[in-house]
Symmetry: C2
Subunit: 229 residues, 2 copies
């Protein structure tokens, strides 16, 4: 085996699927590779793990180096380790997925990328290695998780309207939901703080803004409550 970087565990990489929600669409952040292999192709941001860092730390460092993003919701997903998934040598990758509100960060391609941008998950470019499979898997994971854990809020600004929340769910789950029922369900779970603030700059009646109450969620969860959409 070639140990190109003696400080890196080089049969083992990390790849991050970063989800964003914008204009009613679920998006994935990709970088254009400025290094071999697959130079010039759009791909998931990724890198190698250092000997002196935990894998969760590694995923955060890699994301920061590749995109400039920090302190966002990240979770380990799955290892992908088919023999021929990477060219010339054996690399097993740990797939992570992250949730972020796209407007919050200015995109910033790191030294290993020549470009960076958001893609609608439904219209992805051609991807190298098994990155398409990884993204598909991440989308499925997200679809499952979002129904039983209140993680969707990570994709929205701190203050949001109920319609924004509903559109988020519709984009992720790929189906229309009934408006009055969705509102009631969300409000009925006692996880939203109703603010005395309203939308501005809209050409119709302004909707009330809400905040997600993480503290209350943890308390409810302790006592057996399960989030369900």
């Amino acid at each position: 085996m070639s140990h190109t970087h003696p400080d890196k565990i080089d049969p083992l990489s990390i790849d991050c699927t970063i989800f964003g929600f914008e204009d009613g669409k679920l998006e994935v952040l990709l970088i254009r590779r400025a290094i071999e292999p697959s130079l010039g192709k759009w791909a998931l941001p990724g890198g190698f793990i250092l000997y002196q860092e935990d894998i969760d730390e590694a995923s955060r460092r890699i994301l920061r180096e590749m995109t400039g993003m920090e302190r966002l919701f990240m979770e380990q997903q799955q290892a992908f380790g088919a023999v021929g998934r990477y060219p010339n040598r054996r690399v097993i990758t740990l797939a992570y997925f992250a949730l972020i509100q796209p407007g919050k960060y200015k995109l910033n391609a790191g030294p290993e990328a020549s470009d960076i941008r958001w893609f609608d998950v439904r219209y992805l470019p051609e991807l190298p290695f098994d990155h398409e499979e990884i993204i598909q898997h991440a989308v499925n994971t997200l679809r499952q998780k979002v129904r039983h854990q209140p993680i969707g809020f990570e994709l929205l600004p701190e203050k949001f309207t109920l319609l924004q929340l509903q559109e988020l769910y519709e984009a992720i789950l790929g189906q229309k939901l009934d408006k009055p029922n969705f509102r009631r369900k969300m409000q009925g779970m006692n996880l939203l703080v109703s603010l005395e603030e309203y939308q501005t700059g809209v050409a119709h009646r302004a909707a009330r803004l809400y905040k997600f109450d993480m503290t209350r969620y943890y308390k409810l969860k302790e006592s057996g409550f399960v989030f369900e959409v």
Copy 2:
């Protein structure tokens, strides 16, 4: 780094949490280590990945070598990769979990183990490395999965009674369930084939035996059906 086996990817191991169900108890299969480190301690069966095998293949091979078991339900769970989790060198492990019916196999400790047996998940011995954390995580994963996927059947014999199935769920979920309601729910999903056979050798009215219909499940799943307990 020391490459003790040039054919093994040695910063990367696999550990398997094998669940069984017996006498109304959820159990985990552990081996007593016959090799260093932690020689003599009860631990999860595990091993290293070869350069020429997929990780899912590796998990099956390792399980076969350590326990003699083959062709059982196995799924990847999570990577565990804290810096100090393994002594002296960095090893990241891929945790797998497997489901099996304990009576089906004669336990067979491999060359790296001096003993092998089932432990009640509630009363585990002292475990080396982060194996306790891995098992805890596996139990949680199982608890989640069993509610939304019909994987519990992997822990039962091919033909089973509804009470056995209920006791399985009670053991995994850790709560009592109402008998008539449970029966109705299970039968209502149209996933059980009611056989013309009954229990034998019991000191009370013999219960009807059922079989799980995997084919029907896949068909229903295609058309949007979701398994729910």
